[in-house]
Symmetry: C2
Subunit: 660 residues, 2 copies
């Protein structure tokens, strides 16, 4: 079997050498060690079966194709909300149900695969697996009930849709998301204490406000009684914490006597500034604490796995000597773990590990391998320009060299920055003027010329290498703009008018072209690169958007069709299709499109609530009927917003900048 | 001279011992050493003259009486704004000028004193001193010009009032405030870069919005054209960053096509969340960095000063031995530095320093003294209860002991917590009901009984010791409530009605009494104690409120009298005394009292702007005349708000919690 495997490698010397080494590196052992190293490299914590068959199944389980497929199925499952009632694009019930069935069977397949990989007792002890099984079963049950009710023309609710985002959290790959949830959960007890104290403070201030204002007969601007009922005061003051009704709630009291401004000043100071800062501090602190603990555990698990891999591969050179791993064994292992690694890169890693050039490495050096593999190595090959190899006489001639020097000069960059600025001014002007309209072609030609000149002066493969984000950005934007402009002109000359959609794309691409200026200023580039680098971490927390999905689902079932957007000639006089909303702030501000009638509207509405401003007006969908239900829902949304979302948005960059 | 001083001490053995010690501790040396130690203890960094006379002057300079006086004069100077035109309480010009002259002469006296303490060249090199001289001279000049103009009935502006807050920053004692300013200044270059990038982003998004919406002929809810002028778009989108016009600015575009919500979503994500977080991160990071540096410098300076004090006091016990400081010398020094220190406390400090009990300490142990003196030592004297000494038979009798045990029991605390809860319900009810009104007397009696019982069970001096914040709080609130209720009843029975002002005080005190519940729950007490402990640091940054003073002064000179609050029957129809404001959002929302007509209104207005919400409506004081000026002013206020105020309010607790 050793020979069989070695036939795959193309060097005979390796074969001879390994066979001399008492043939320790058996294929199965290598597979197992490779799995351990790969788990250590990607921080996977799966306790798999070590039998050869299970190892092979586990390798398949970790392959990127089934992983990507799983995410595609989850995405499809989540996107079903667009087509299900209340739908953006209505589809028949059987179609969405069929798709959902396919998704569910895909999740089941994946879970069965997972069950084959790990020991049975481990499988049933893991709450993640139980969770997925329960979700799949509940979804099936819901589909059956829904189908039966629909078939008999009853009213039915697809309640299991709320569970869909939980799949994203509970699949094996949702490690990062689970970590994010865990850090939030760990912060909850402390947050809860501060929250209680905060609520107590709001209640005390409300009681004080009640005693101060109830006998004064003050009126709000709308002529309603001001601060006369305790619960209304609590609600108004709670809204004030989010600053959404900031000066308005104070004005009647302030107009009566300016000493009352002190009351509101103290309230805002204590509840908006001090308590919200304490919330942030508590979240930041416990996040930092648990992150440290998690990282410590990850490092320990990684070392443990690497030690196991070492134990599988180790051999003793002499009796009583320390066990070691030979170079050839190591080479095969690395090739198995990361098949796309170049020989130069592998040699580099080996020379780092075996710094004394002994031909073998001990346990300590071997354990580093997982981290070494994670280091990104950029191979800079100083290849000659293809034109130089094709036609050296022309490319190396003095005029060509001068051109290259000009393009590489700083002045070339500055010249094009100036062109971009001029272009910005032209974009701002009215494009229906023929001069301005035609100038677009000039600018497009200039940008194309720039890219071509750069491709002439620099080696194209280096220019388009993976880490040159800005070169890719430039080229894609300019070529897209070129295509869009050509399409626009073609359509215009045939239809004699430009469709707005194409024009929109053309305009957006034109403006995006201007962003390039940022790249020329070194310090800006640093900031942008930092943001791009911390992007993945923010994205992990961004996945918390699944919470929005749950709220959207609940909101849609509760409030669909209650508010409708009606195109009307006088926006001031609309009632959003609901007589209860007549003359409410909601209708007057023309918020009718902020409703739960489909999943897109729901998401936009929840986004508006996250931004906080006017949220109290949005939730007054109706002063009587829907108010209570809406309030509860939004309050929950608010609490959730205050607790995990906003601080997480805030503290992630803070903690990262603090770490960097 | 040594004898003369030692006569002050009451122990003869000390006298003998010191005179044997070749009388090294000469009075002048001790004075000098005491000054060094005291400077090290309080982190003063003043390079004073070491001549005996200058040292004595320096001691006087650091005395608490002139320091407090200085702050009183600064406060009086700042408060003059209440009495100067435009005044809350108008006073004749000569009176305010006279007070200001007295203040200015006090500052000059303090500066002359300082000049006598430190070497002349150091004095003139220090920008703080130059600053104070310039401020005093400019104020005098301004007063002369203003007086002359007023005397000849011309229009005059008191422009030097803007300089007053700078005194607070530039006096020697404003060390903490200068440090706060320095940390802000150090963060500015980095903030500025992010700010430029942020502005660039806003401009790009505005350009995109212009191209997307200008041809669509959309209308706002008020029927005005939507997003047609570039600068208006920039302003609207800038307001959106502060979330103040959040859903409204989006609604027309969203009503036209829901894809435009993506534009606004991206805008809010990039500019409100990402950029504002980056601002916070940059401020936090650079604050942390420079704080570390400052602390390092402080520690170095402290060690340097202690080494100097050691050099003054040191003596050699043998030839070639390490220099040391004897116990007696040390004792005298500590008594000089901190005269109110108890003998037991001093002995404790010595035993910490001289851990081998040698009777003398080396340099290393001596240098710790400044830190040792800063450690707060709480002396717990287990004194018997005064009643026990007065009447032991009664106090130690079984019923009395039972009473003490009851009071000390947990159930006693819980019982009174329940009483407080019942009281809270009673407060919420209408106090004109005679049952409710009389119940107040019951509660007052119960609270008084509680305090008396506690005083019976616990030693009164321990009960009212300095660190027992909550006992003090309780007693003061309950006794104040008792006095206020008695006064109220007395006034009511003589006038047959209750004046609102007294009732307000009574109500506030009643509600404050409820806060005590927090003290019974241990975890809440911890949070509150933490907040109280970080209070001083927050207060230092709170002094940045001097920036508000400058804005208030500038605003008052520019906008006084432009907007007036007029009591009117129909608040909807007012024009705030300015025909330009007719039908503006400002007048309709009844914001007329938000003006710059006196210093109190200005502060309240600036506070409202800090809270952000509706700031764009507040600054639209008038759509035509005052708008530009107001906008500029508010924009500045906004920038200042975004940059130092909000993050500082946020990051102070964060950094402190991270440190703790």
């Amino acid at each position: 079997m050793c020979i069989q495997m070695l036939l795959k490698t193309d060097r005979v010397c390796v074969c001879v050498c390994v066979c001399v080494c008492v043939c320790v590196c058996v294929l199965q052992d290598l597979d197992l060690a490779a799995v351990y190293v790969s788990d250590a490299q990607y921080n996977r914590n799966i306790f798999f079966d070590t039998s050869p068959q299970a190892v092979r199944l586990y390798l398949l389980y970790n392959h990127w194709v089934p992983q990507v497929l799983l995410y595609v199925f989850i995405l499809v499952d989540l996107c079903l909300a667009i087509f299900e009632d209340p739908a953006v694009v209505p589809l028949p019930v059987w179609a969405t149900m069929l798709v959902e069935l396919i998704c569910l069977s895909a999740f089941t397949t994946r879970l069965v695969h997972y069950a084959k990989v790990i020991p049975r007792d481990k499988f049933w002890k893991d709450p993640k697996n139980i969770c997925i099984i329960v979700i799949v079963l509940l979804s099936l049950l819901d589909m059956m009930i829904y189908g039966a009710l629909k078939a008999t023309d009853h009213n039915a609710v697809r309640w299991s849709r709320v569970l869909r985002p939980l799949l994203l959290v509970n699949v094996t790959e949702g490690r990062q998301l689970r970590r994010a949830f865990r850090s939030i959960r760990n912060a909850l007890p402390q947050i809860f204490l501060v929250f209680l104290l905060f609520i107590f403070s709001v209640l005390m201030f409300s009681l004080m406000a009640l005693k101060l204002f109830v006998k004064r007969d003050l009126k709000t601007t709308e002529g309603e009684p001001y601060f006369t009922h305790y619960l209304d005061i609590v609600f108004d003051l709670y809204v004030l914490v989010t600053t959404a009704n900031s000066p308005d709630v104070m004005m009647p009291a302030y107009n009566a006597n300016f000493f009352f401004a002190i009351f509101f000043f103290l309230y805002i100071l204590v509840n908006t500034y001090i308590f919200m800062s304490v919330f942030l501090a508590v979240v930041y602190n416990s996040y930092k604490k648990y992150l440290k603990e998690e990282v410590r555990q990850l490092v320990r698990a990684k070392r443990h796995k690497m030690a196991r891999a070492f134990a599988v591969l180790q051999e003793r050179r002499e009796e009583g000597a320390e066990p070691v791993v030979t170079r050839d064994c190591w080479n095969q292992l690395v090739r198995l773990v990361q098949s796309d690694i170049s020989t130069a890169h592998r040699e580099l890693l080996w020379s780092v590990s075996d710094d004394k050039n002994q031909g073998y490495i001990g346990k300590l050096a071997f354990v580093q391998l997982a981290d070494l593999l994670n280091i990104q190595v950029i191979t800079m090959k100083s290849r000659p320009h293809p034109l130089q190899t094709l036609c050296p006489a022309l490319y190396l001639s003095p005029p060509s060299r001068l051109l290259c020097r000009v393009v590489q000069h700083r002045a070339f960059v500055i010249a094009f920055d100036l062109i971009i600025l001029v272009n910005a001014v032209f974009i701002g002007l009215d494009e229906e003027d023929p001069v301005i309209g035609n100038s677009e072609w000039v600018f497009l030609a200039l940008y194309m010329l720039e890219i071509l000149l750069k491709l002439y002066a620099f080696e194209p493969r280096a220019f388009f290498s993976r880490h040159n984000f800005w070169n890719w950005f430039d080229t894609i934007i300019v070529i897209s703009a070129l295509i869009a402009t050509i399409v626009n002109t073609a359509v215009e000359s045939s239809l004699h008018y430009s469709p707005r959609e194409i024009l929109d794309i053309v305009f957006v691409l034109r403006v995006l072209r201007l962003i390039r200026v940022v790249d020329s200023i070194k310090r800006f580039r640093t900031i942008i690169n930092t943001l791009i680098r911390i992007g993945p971490t923010i994205l992990t927390f961004g996945q918390l958007i699944v919470i929005y999905y749950i709220f959207a689902m609940v909101g849609m079932e509760l409030f669909k069709g209650k508010v409708r957007y009606v195109e009307s000639s006088d926006p001031q006089q609309t009632d959003c299709g609901n007589p209860l909303l007549k003359d409410s702030a909601f209708a007057n501000r023309n918020y009718c499109k902020n409703n739960f009638n489909d999943v897109v509207s729901s998401f936009i509405l929840l986004m508006e609530l996250t931004v906080v401003n006017q949220w109290h007006d949005i939730l007054y969908l109706s002063p009587t009927a829907t108010r209570l239900g809406y309030t509860q829902n939004t309050q929950k949304a608010m609490c959730l917003r205050v607790a995990p979302c906003q601080p997480s948005i805030h503290f992630v960059p803070v903690s990262l900048t603090a770490c960097c």
